[in-house]
Symmetry: C2
Subunit: 212 residues, 2 copies
């Protein structure tokens, strides 16, 4: 069946993939899965092959210049502010705005000028957008924002470039957070990893892959 | 039927309602509907009884100090940045972040310390969170953020205070925008107004009242 064989070899064409947060709880699994068949550049705020601070425009611009043209960017990084609404202030809220929201947005606004045609961006939102927890209002907001951004950006990205987000519930390897997520069933790293794989190796765009 | 009569008089108890954007396209209709039975303080960036710049923490704080305790705050105001993704920069994106998102968020973060028990906040998001248009990525993002914020804040607001958002599609009285919303059916001001009324006079919280 030569035809089938050809299709498989196309699907497995090696790509150059940039992973932000590559040594983090989620990123290390996604990195392990993708680097079997692809060239992965691991990035992080302190570790990895290249350092990048996604809250800094200059750092993002330098990051892309160092990496050169690429086929996929995954961001499994971005800070938010856990804390009670009653005492939350603008400055607390801006932690999520400047990192989880604008960090990821700027990775796309800037990265769209470096990415290869038919490339893809995969961002990270989360279940809290629709399934809130006490002290999670900042993250609910940022996750909702990323979901809206992905839908809005997907219809404008040019040259066949795609964008999706993965929106996981609390993951099994973050037991330190379990008590803040009462009744939530921690999701397996395997399922979360597959959602990122689906975004990078699949053909869809404008999707929020919820892992619940 | 004295029992029924009593219920009606409770439902129509006069409230003190603050409306931001009271002279705007949506706000003027909501104001007209609510001021028949309630004390309405009309606020706007340039017009109304009191001026407030929702992108300024100091202005919001002064606004609440001038208004004193209140029963409901409605925000039908907030700027976003229309424009193509391909040329969008961080600074463009921050227009929506600082006004439509953080303006409304700060109205709640600060206002929660001034609002009467059993009061309510009603914010404005919009259909673009899930039904994007070309050049609308900033607003899709901000609308998604407001929807997430409302869900996260609703479970933490104290003393029976509620929060909802109204998420309208393009409204019939904004014909200047129609060409940017191809195929969208403009919604009537009457239906949009009713969504705000439902939030203020109803009992629900954490809801996104979509008007599509």
């Amino acid at each position: 069946m030569p035809k089938v064989k050809l299709w498989i070899s196309i699907a497995q064409k090696s790509m150059k993939i940039l992973i932000i947060g590559a040594t983090g709880t989620i990123g290390k699994h996604v990195t392990a899965a993708l680097q079997k068949d692809h060239e992965v550049i691991k990035a992080g705020s302190k570790s990895g092959d290249i350092q990048v601070d996604i809250s800094s425009l200059e750092s993002i611009e330098n990051f892309y210049k160092q990496c050169g043209k690429f086929d996929a960017l995954l961001c499994a990084s971005g800070d938010g502010q856990f804390g009670p609404l009653a005492s939350m202030k603008d400055a607390d809220f801006r932690v999520g705005v400047n990192s989880k929201l604008m960090g990821q947005v700027n990775l796309v606004l800037i990265g769209q000028h470096y990415i290869n045609s038919k490339g893809s961006f995969t961002l990270t939102s989360g279940a809290l957008a629709e399934d809130p927890i006490i002290m999670g209002v900042n993250l609910s907001t940022m996750n909702g924002a990323i979901n809206g951004f992905v839908k809005g950006a997907a219809i404008e990205l040019e040259n066949g470039v795609r964008i999706n987000a993965v929106g996981p519930d609390i993951v099994e390897e973050s037991p330190g957070y379990f008590s803040y997520f009462p009744g939530h069933i921690p999701v397996t790293m395997s399922r979360v990893t597959q959602a990122y794989i689906k975004s990078v190796l699949g053909g869809q765009t404008g999707q929020i892959y919820k892992v619940l």
